[in-house]
Every structure is written in structure tokens, then in C-alpha cells.
């Protein structure tokens, strides 16, 4: 497949996914028992004027499809409507929280790459006890849900040892990073374990290849062989898996933010669901799905760029 065709197909798929996702998010509101009015009013009882105002604001008297496309058009321009609880624009609510979630995901990504690749390479090079210990720890972290890791980290390192703050986002960049350390570790451990497993398998496979044997027989040092001949070739699956796990962090951040009482998109979403603040739910879900889909697309493109032997899209 040629590059333009590949990109066109991927972009078409991306648009399709986002259309379906937005349609689901918008349409489900109308499946609620009692209809959209019950939702928009929530537990509050409204005066006739308020009800009329809501009907007008949400264009409830228009046909469904016209309403949907109207909402979608506004959303594309960054207007997700108004929160019923906060009486603020949803886009404003989201933009202040986007930084926290973004920083958390970025921090976790750094931990995943450093710890995952490091431990994976170590396990592949030091077969025996070191490898066995790393593999065991990996299997434990792979199976432990993020929220359990998070709560255990709080109990041990914040409440028990007192090394880290228990809750809250902190102020100023160094303090924020300090506050985000435990959340980022909680978010990253499972993915780091997964990446370590993939790296170990990939490096181990590469070590057994003939060109490595040749390099060794020509007397190159071990570190030269590992750096120049093994890691480069082993990096392709590692990059793919890294991208996929980073996409997965978006869902994980919803949980982690709630453990550590961080003011991010995830805690905004959960609070909005509990308060039946549907405009916020729609906006946050749409942003999360978009980020998820975009990262997956970036991974696909990277994959084809890194390995010139593959024509674009062959990996998928």
C-alpha cells in the first residue's frame, strides 16, 4: 500500500470511529427511561420557564438527527454546551483539567518506557536468577488492577512511610510532579510489566539471530553488540507496544485520578456521572475516545516509519 492511500484509509477509519462514538454518546441520552428531560433536570424539579429554557437550549423540539448534527457541529468548534451543575461551559471545565491528566499520562509514559525497556533488556541479558525474579514480579503486576496498586501504594508509601502526600494535585511544577509520582507509578506498573515482557522476548529472539553470532565471533564487545546489533532490531515491537499501552493509560487515568483525588478529566467524568451532568459526560467521553483513537493512529504511522521493510499499513 502506498503512503497516501494508507493515510487516507486510516483517516477515514478514524472519522468513522469518532462519528459512531459521538452518535452513541449523544443518542444514548435519549434512551434513558423518562427521556432527555428527566436526565437534564436530574433530581431537580423545574419551573415551566426553566423547562422551556432547557427545551430551547438543547433544541428538544427539533428532530433527532438535526439535533445530533447541531451538537456535533458545536462540538467540532469546541463548544460542548453548558454544565448543569457547575453553570460553566464544558470546554472551560475540561481545559483546566486537561493539564493534570496530560501531565499524569506523560509522567507514567516516561516510567513505562524507562522501567519496561530497562527491566526487559536486563531480563534478556541476565538469564537465571535475575530474569526469574523480574518475570515473577512482572506477572504479579500484570494481574494486579491499577486501582489496587494505587491503594496499596497509598497505604505503604503515603500512610505508612510518609514519603509522599496522600491526596491532592499540589501547586507549582516541582510540587505537582512530587504529588503526581505515586499516581504515575500506580498507572504505569501494569503497562511497564507488559512492556518488559515484550522487550525481553524481542531482545532474547534477536540475541539468538545469526548476525549477532557473527558479530560475537568477530570479537566485538558484548556492549557494542547489544547496542548496535540487538537493540535496534528489537525496537520495533517495543515501540508498537509502548504506543498501545499509552493509549490504554487514558482509561486507567480515570481510575487513578479518583484514588488520589486529582482534579483531572477522569474525576470530572465520574463526578458528572454521579450528578447526572450529561453535557459534561458527553464532552469528556468524546475527548477521551478521540485521544485514544489518535494515539493508535500515531502508533500505526510510527510503525511504518521505523521499519522501512514494511509498506505502510502492513502491520495492521
Amino acid at each position: 500500500m502506498s503512503w497516501p492511500l494508507f493515510l487516507a484509509r486510516r483517516l477515514a477509519a478514524l472519522v468513522a470511529v469518532l462519528l459512531v462514538a459521538s452518535f452513541l454518546v449523544y443518542g444514548l441520552l435519549y434512551l434513558v427511561p423518562g427521556g432527555p428531560m428527566a436526565f437534564l433536570l436530574g433530581n431537580r424539579s423545574g419551573s415551566p420557564e426553566q423547562i422551556a429554557a432547557i427545551r430551547h437550549e438543547y433544541r428538544l423540539d427539533d428532530p433527532f438527527l438535526i439535533r445530533y448534527f447541531g451538537w456535533l457541529g458545536d462540538a467540532l468548534r469546541g463548544d460542548f454546551g453548558q454544565s448543569l451543575v457547575y453553570r460553566q461551559d464544558v470546554s472551560d471545565l475540561m481545559s483546566t483539567r486537561l493539564a493534570t491528566t496530560g501531565l499524569l499520562v506523560l509522567y507514567a509514559t516516561v516510567i513505562i518506557v524507562v522501567a519496561g525497556v530497562g527491566l526487559g533488556v536486563l531480563g534478556a541479558l541476565r538469564r537465571g536468577t535475575v530474569d526469574a525474579v523480574i518475570s515473577l514480579v512482572n506477572s504479579i503486576f500484570l494481574a494486579t488492577p491499577t486501582f489496587v496498586v494505587g491503594v496499596l501504594l497509598v497505604i505503604v508509601f503515603a500512610l505508612g512511610l510518609g514519603w509522599f502526600p496522600v491526596f491532592g494535585p499540589g501547586a507549582g511544577l516541582p510540587d505537582r510532579l512530587y504529588h503526581l509520582t505515586l499516581p504515575a507509578i500506580a498507572l504505569s506498573l501494569g503497562s511497564a510489566a507488559f512492556l518488559a515482557r515484550i522487550t525481553r522476548a524481542s531482545v532474547g529472539e534477536e540475541l539468538r539471530r545469526e548476525h549477532v553470532e557473527t558479530a560475537r565471533s568477530r570479537g566485538f564487545s558484548q556492549s557494542h553488540i547489544v547496542r548496535r546489533h540487538v537493540l535496534r532490531n528489537a525496537s520495533i515491537p517495543v515501540v508498537t507496544v509502548t504506543g498501545l499501552t499509552v493509549a490504554g493509560l487514558i482509561a486507567g487515568s480515570v481510575v487513578v485520578e479518583n484514588i488520589f483525588a486529582l482534579d483531572g478529566l477522569g474525576s470530572l467524568l465520574v463526578r458528572a456521572i454521579l450528578q447526572r451532568d450529561f453535557a459534561v459526560v458527553q464532552g469528556v467521553v468524546l475527548v477521551l475516545v478521540t485521544a485514544f483513537v489518535l494515539i493508535n493512529l500515531a502508533v500505526d504511522v510510527c510503525y511504518s516509519l521505523i521499519d522501512p521493510r514494511l509498506s505502510p499499513g502492513e502491520a495492521t
Binding site: I140, P145, V148, I155, I250
Partner: protein, 270 residues
């Protein structure tokens, strides 16, 4: 099969067996009423009558763990049964019909696959209100492509084998061939895939309960116990959070090991 079980396999089977018994017989086995508050036992440590102490309301943690096994395990089980049924029907239909039907079903599955499962479940919970129904409905849909993709490619391979053509020549109907011949041959792959999906489902359901959007109090649930246990831990009693959290992790390890084993056996058969 029993000869190849090994110590790890034996431990897995034992753990899952004990859990099944506890889940079924919780009312007989639990030492205390799981919903009976007792302020003298609030945040209490381990004692003879309360081996794992009490929670913030003084309810017996061990009894709540036993009853909690029901919601914690039955929710994901129900999710996987639904998504396996839906996924298998879609996959076999796509593989059998081919052409445009296959294309439509495959695209649909691709789109569903592109939305994170837990986010999907949060949307259905937002619509149906907090509770197990919304969680199971959302996750069942979100997990459908996970089963369907693998089953579809296996069904495509199987469909081209001569025995299917032979049955077709004999004049059997498509439904009869699929249900009597195709499905039994696909069963190992369906079972292996749905067991490995079960591990993910347990994590997702527990996570949503932890967020307070799944099972509602006072019903006992492990995810909810980790949530409440975090507050108790802040007040100095980490036993509830730790015991519920470790149990969730253990169950997921056991289910994953079982899934790996079934997957490998499936690989050996090919």
C-alpha cells in the same frame, strides 16, 4: 490432562474451586452477618470472632469478603457469557455469509474495538444510573469484539474444510451445519478466548465498583471494599483494603493462568 497439571496448575484449580464453593455457600460459611453494623468493632484489628477485623461501620470484613465474592465474580461472569454469545453469533454469521455481511460486521467490531471498554461502560452507567445492570450491559458490548475477532478467523479457516462442504452437499441447512458441526469444533478456541477475557472483565468490573458506579452499598463487593478500605486505611486500619485488593489480584492471576493454559492446549491441537 490431569497428568500435566503441575503445582502451579493445581494451585490455580484449588483457588478457583475454593472460591466457587465460598461463592455458592457464603451464607453457610460466613461467621457473621455481612451487613450487621457493630460500633464496638469499628476499624477493629484481628480477633477471634473477627479474623480480619471490622470495617468503618464495624461490619465483619471476612464475612463481607465471602459475600462480596458473589457480586465481584458473578458480574464479570455474566458479562463474559453475554459477550461470548453475541461475539460467537456475529463471528459465525460473518464467516458463513462472507461478502458484504462479513464486511459490515467486521467494520462494526473494529469501531467497538476502538473505544476503551471501561469508558464504554461508564457511558452506559451514565444512562442507566449507577448499578450492576449498566456495568454488565456496557462491558458485554465492549468485550464482544474481543471474542468475535478470534472466533471469526477460526471459523473462516474451519469453513473451508471439506467436512463443511460434505454436509452442505448432503442438503443440511446452514443453521444445522453451523450449530451441529462448526460450533463444536470452535468450542476450544471460544472457551480459551472467553476465559482470558474474564480476567480483564474482573478488573474492569471491580474498577467501576471502586469508582462507586457499580454495585451500590450496603451490598458487599471487593471493589467497593477497596474504596471504603482506603478511607479506613487513612484512619489507621488498612486490613479491609489490603485483603480485598489482594483477593482481586489473586483471582485475576488464577483466571489468567487458566486462560494461558487453555490457549496453549488450543495451540497444541492445531
Amino acid at each position: 490432562m490431569k497428568a500435566r497439571l503441575g503445582p502451579l496448575g493445581l494451585a490455580t484449580v484449588l483457588l478457583l474451586g475454593v472460591l466457587a464453593v465460598v461463592t455458592a455457600c457464603a451464607p453457610l460459611l460466613a461467621p457473621q452477618d455481612p451487613n450487621q453494623p457493630d460500633l464496638f468493632n469499628a476499624l477493629a484489628g484481628s480477633s477471634g470472632t473477627h479474623p480480619l477485623g471490622g470495617d468503618a461501620l464495624g461490619r465483619d470484613v471476612l464475612s463481607r469478603l465471602m459475600f462480596g465474592a458473589r457480586t465481584t465474580l458473578l458480574g464479570p461472569l455474566f458479562t463474559i457469557v453475554l459477550s461470548t454469545a453475541a461475539g460467537t453469533v456475529l463471528a459465525v454469521t460473518a464467516a458463513w455469509a462472507g461478502g458484504r455481511v462479513d464486511a459490515v460486521i467486521s467494520r462494526l467490531l473494529d469501531v467497538l474495538f476502538a473505544i476503551p471498554g471501561i469508558v464504554f461502560a461508564l457511558v452506559t452507567v451514565a444512562v442507566l444510573g449507577p448499578g450492576m445492570t449498566g456495568v454488565v450491559a456496557g462491558l458485554a458490548v465492549a468485550y464482544t469484539p474481543y471474542v468475535a475477532r478470534v472466533v471469526r478467523s477460526a471459523a473462516l479457516r474451519e469453513r473451508n474444510l471439506p467436512y463443511i462442504a460434505a454436509a452442505w452437499v448432503q442438503g443440511r441447512s446452514a443453521v444445522a451445519i453451523c450449530s451441529r458441526h462448526l460450533l463444536p469444533n470452535l468450542r476450544p478456541i471460544i472457551v480459551a478466548q472467553s476465559v482470558s477475557a474474564l480476567g480483564f472483565a474482573i478488573i474492569d468490573v471491580a474498577a467501576i465498583s471502586f469508582l462507586g458506579l457499580g454495585v451500590q452499598p450496603p451490598t458487599a463487593d471487593w471493589g467497593l471494599m477497596v474504596k471504603n478500605g482506603l478511607d479506613s486505611a487513612v484512619r489507621g486500619q488498612p486490613m479491609e483494603a489490603v485483603s480485598a485488593g489482594v483477593l482481586i489480584a489473586l483471582v485475576v492471576v488464577a483466571v489468567n493462568l487458566l486462560g494461558d493454559r487453555l490457549g496453549r492446549q488450543e495451540g497444541d491441537l492445531r
